[in-house]
C-alpha cells in the first residue's frame, strides 16, 4: 500500500536521508585532503549494508537537473557509528567530482549504491602468506589507503610497502597520516614518488614506475637486490590501483614475477568515438537481466540489432516517440541517431529504436 515516493516525500520533511527503499547519506564533514581533493564523511541511512576496506561504491548527485553517478573508493575502515568516507579528486571536466569537491557542503544528501569490488585483504592476513606491496598512482591511493588503515588497525600483522605516485607533492593525500603510520609500525614502509617535480626528503623519490625504481625502493625495505636474481617483489602479493596506463605498467612489471597480482584500473567515463560512418564495427552487448552477451553491429539501431539476434525486447513506434523500448544503459556509449548526441552516463535511459552502440554496452534487459 505504501508508495515509496510518497513516503519519502513526507519522511524527508523530517530527515532528508529517510527513505523507504533508497540508500541516502548526509555529508557530515568535509575536509581538504590535498590540492583539488576532498574527503567527505557520510552518514548513510539504514539501507546501507556495509563494506569491506578496498571496496568502492556508486555515488549519485544531481548536477544541473541531471543525476550523475560515479564510483569512488571508501577510504576509511568500517566504523562503529556507521559513518563512511570517500576521498574525491577533482577531474577537469568531471561533473560529479567537480560538484563534490567544490559545491557539496555539510548537510547535503547524496545517494549511494552498494559496496562492490574484490580488491580486499583476508580477514586475518598472515606473514606466512607473503608480504604485501601496494602500488598506487593518483586517486589510486583511495582503496589502498583503506587497506593500509585496516592493517594498521590490526596492528600491522604483515609487512607492507606502499609506493605512491603523484605528479606533484601537493597532490599527495593522507601524507601526514601515512608518514605517521610508517614511523609507528616498523613493518610498514611508505615511499612517495613524484613525476613532475624534484624529490625532497628521505621518503620522497622521483620517476615513473619501472624495474630500476621499484628494485631500488624495495631493496631499502629488506628485499633481495640483484639485477639477475629474482625480483625484489618475488615474495610479495601486489595490489595496484591507478589510471589504466599505470596499472598496465605495474602488471607488465610484476604480474608474472610477484607472488600474486591484483589490480583496479580507472577508466574515465568519457563517450567513446563512434567508428566513422559506413564502417560499422561489432560490439559486445551484455544483457544484465537475462545474463546473455551478444555481438551486435554498431551500424543499425540497437533494437534492430537485438531483434536480428532473435531477441524480442518491448518496442512500439520505432521512431523514438513512444518510449516503449526504453531501457537502462548500465555502461558504455550510445549514439542518439535523432539528435546526433553521444552519451556515456551510467544508468541512463536509452531508446533502443533510435540508438546505436558506440562501444561495448551493458543493458538492463
Amino acid at each position: 500500500m505504501v508508495d515509496p515516493a510518497t513516503f519519502d516525500f513526507w519522511a524527508q520533511k523530517l530527515d532528508a536521508t529517510w527513505s523507504w527503499t533508497r540508500t541516502l547519506a548526509r555529508v557530515i564533514e568535509r575536509r581538504a585532503e590535498a590540492q583539488d581533493a576532498v574527503t567527505l564523511v557520510l552518514q548513510p541511512n539504514r539501507h546501507w549494508a556495509g563494506f569491506q576496506p578496498g571496496q568502492h561504491l556508486n555515488v549519485s548527485a544531481e548536477v544541473g537537473g541531471r543525476r550523475v553517478t560515479r564510483s569512488y573508493s571508501l577510504t576509511d575502515i568500517p566504523r562503529r557509528d556507521g559513518r563512511i568516507a570517500i576521498t574525491v579528486k577533482r577531474v577537469d571536466g568531471g561533473r560529479l567530482s567537480t560538484q563534490l569537491c567544490e559545491h557539496t557542503r555539510v548537510g547535503d544528501v547524496l545517494e549511494l549504491g552498494e559496496a562492490f569490488g574484490d580488491m580486499t585483504l583476508p580477514a586475518a592476513p598472515r606473514q606466512a602468506e607473503g608480504r604485501w606491496l601496494f602500488l598506487a598512482a593518483g586517486s589510486g591511493i583511495t582503496p589502498l589507503m583503506a587497506l593500509t588503515r585496516q592493517l594498521a588497525a590490526q596492528g600491522m600483522p604483515v609487512d607492507v610497502s606502499l609506493v605512491y605516485w603523484a605528479k606533484t607533492r601537493a597532490e599527495f593525500c593522507f601524507a601526514d597520516e601515512l608518514r605517521a603510520l610508517a614511523r609507528q609500525h616498523p613493518r610498514c614502509q611508505v615511499h612517495f614518488v613524484v613525476t613532475h617535480e624534484a624529490a625532497q626528503g628521505a621518503d620522497e623519490h622521483e620517476g615513473f614506475i619501472d624495474h630500476a625504481l621499484l628494485t631500488r625502493l624495495l631493496g631499502g625495505d629488506g628485499g633481495e637486490v640483484s639485477a639477475s636474481g629474482p625480483a625484489a617483489w618475488a615474495d610479495r602479493q601486489v595490489l595496484a590501483c591507478g589510471p589504466g596506463g599505470f596499472v598496465d605498467a605495474a602488471r607488465a612489471l610484476t604480474a608474472t614475477t610477484a607472488r600474486s597480482f591484483l589490480a583496479d584500473g580507472f577508466t574515465p567515463t568519457a563517450p567513446a568515438d563512434l567508428p566513422q560512418a559506413g564502417e560499422a564495427t561489432t560490439v559486445s552487448v551484455s544483457l544484465t537481466r537475462s545474463g546473455r552477451t551478444l555481438r551486435v553491429s554498431s551500424g543499425s539501431s540497437l533494437l534492430e540489432a537485438l531483434e536480428a539476434q532473435g531477441l524480442n525486447p518491448p518496442s512500439g513506434c520505432r521512431m523514438g516517440v513512444c518510449h516503449t523500448c526504453v531501457c537502462q544503459r548500465h555502461s558504455g556509449t550510445t549514439l542518439d541517431t535523432l539528435s546526433g548526441e553521444r552519451s556515456a552516463e551510467p544508468d541512463m535511459a536509452v531508446r533502443l529504436c533510435v540508438s546505436r552502440a558506440c562501444s561495448d554496452l551493458s543493458l538492463d534487459l
Binding site: 544541473g64 537537473g65 516503449t324 526504453v326 535511459a349
Partner: protein
Amino acid sequence: MSNAPAAANLPALHPGIHRGLQRPLSPQELSDFGSEIEALRARTVADLGERDARYIRRIFAAVRWTEIIGRILLVVGFFLPSPWDWSVWLLGAFTLGLSKILDNMELGHNVIHGQFDWMGDPRFSGKTFEWDIVGTADNWRKTHNFKHHTYTNVHGMDDDIGYDVLRIFPEQKWHPAALFQPLYAVIFALLFQWGVAIQNLRVGRVFIGRITWRGLFKESAPTLRKWRRLLVKDYIVFPLLAGPAWASVFTGNLVANGLRNLWTYTVIFCGHFTSDVQTFPKSVLKNESRAQWYVRQILGSSNLSGSKALHVLTGNLSHQIEHHLFPDVPANRYAEMAPVVRDICRRYGIHYNTGSMVSQFGQVVWRILRHSFPSSPSTAMPDGVPAR
C-alpha cells in the same frame, strides 16, 4: 537551399491530407518544414536542466500537499457547525480533486511519456512511474504513448477516436445505438478513468473469439489488482481512518474522483475532437516520413488558449499540438515552444487549431450531437469547409 533534383526524391504529402493546408506543400517545403520543427526540438532539449527538474519536483510536491490538505479538510468539515461543515467539505473535495488532476495530468501523463527521463531520477522515470488512476501505467504506455501518439487520428489504428464508445467523426460507422450517445457521453465523462481502463482490457476480443473470459481475466490481473488497491484506499482505508467522519470522507473521495474524471474528459476531448481537426485513413501511414508525421500531428490536434493555471491543470495538454510534435519534451516547455510552432505553421500555411476552452468544447459537444445521427464524410465535411 532548394534544388530541383533533390526535391524530386523527397516524399510529398499523402493525397488524403489537404484540408488544413492553405496551399499544397512541395516536397522541398515539406522537408524544410520538418527540419524547422526538429531544430526547435534540438534547441529545447539542449537547454533542459535545473529549471525543468525543479519544475517537476514542485508539481510532485503540489500533488502531495493538495492531497493531504484535501483529505484533512474532508474530516475537519464533519466536526464543524453548519454552514461551515458542507463548505469545508466541498473545499476538501475540490482540493483532493485538484490533487488527483495534477497527479493525472501534469505529473503522471507527462512523466510516463518519458519527458523527464533525461534527469536519471528513478522517481520520474517514464518506464516505472505509476499513477492514481484505475488504468495501469503499463496499459497506458501501450494504448496512449505508442498507439495514440504514433497513429494519431488514424481510423482503425488510434483507439482514442471516440474510445470505441462515441461516434465523433462521420468516417466512423453509424449504428442506431449512436442515437443515445449524447446520454452515454455524459456517463462516460463521469466514469472516464473506468472507461479508459476497461477499454485497455479490450473486452471485445472475447466476443469475436480471440480470447476466452478466463484468458482475459488472467491477462487483466495487474489491472484488477490496481482497481482493488485504489478502491480500498479511497473507499475503505481513508473512511475508516476518519472514524465518525467516514461518510464525509467516502463521499468526498467519490466527488474528487468524479471531478477529475469530468476535467480530464473535457481536456482530452478538446485535444482531438474539435471541428477543424482531421482524421486520416490508414493509407497515410504508408512510407510516411517524419515531416509528414509532424503535419499529421498538427492537423489532428487542437490547442486551448488560456491562463498559466489552465495550462498546468490540463497537464499542458492545452498545448496539444506541441505535445503531439514533441511528446517526450518536458511539458513545461510547450508554452515557450508554441509561438515558434505557430509561426512555422503560418509560414508553411498549415492550419494551427487553437481556441478558448468554451469554444473548443462547444465544438466537441456539437460533434457528439451531430454524429449521433447518420452522417457521411462527403456531406458532413466538404473539403475545406469544416462541419459545424
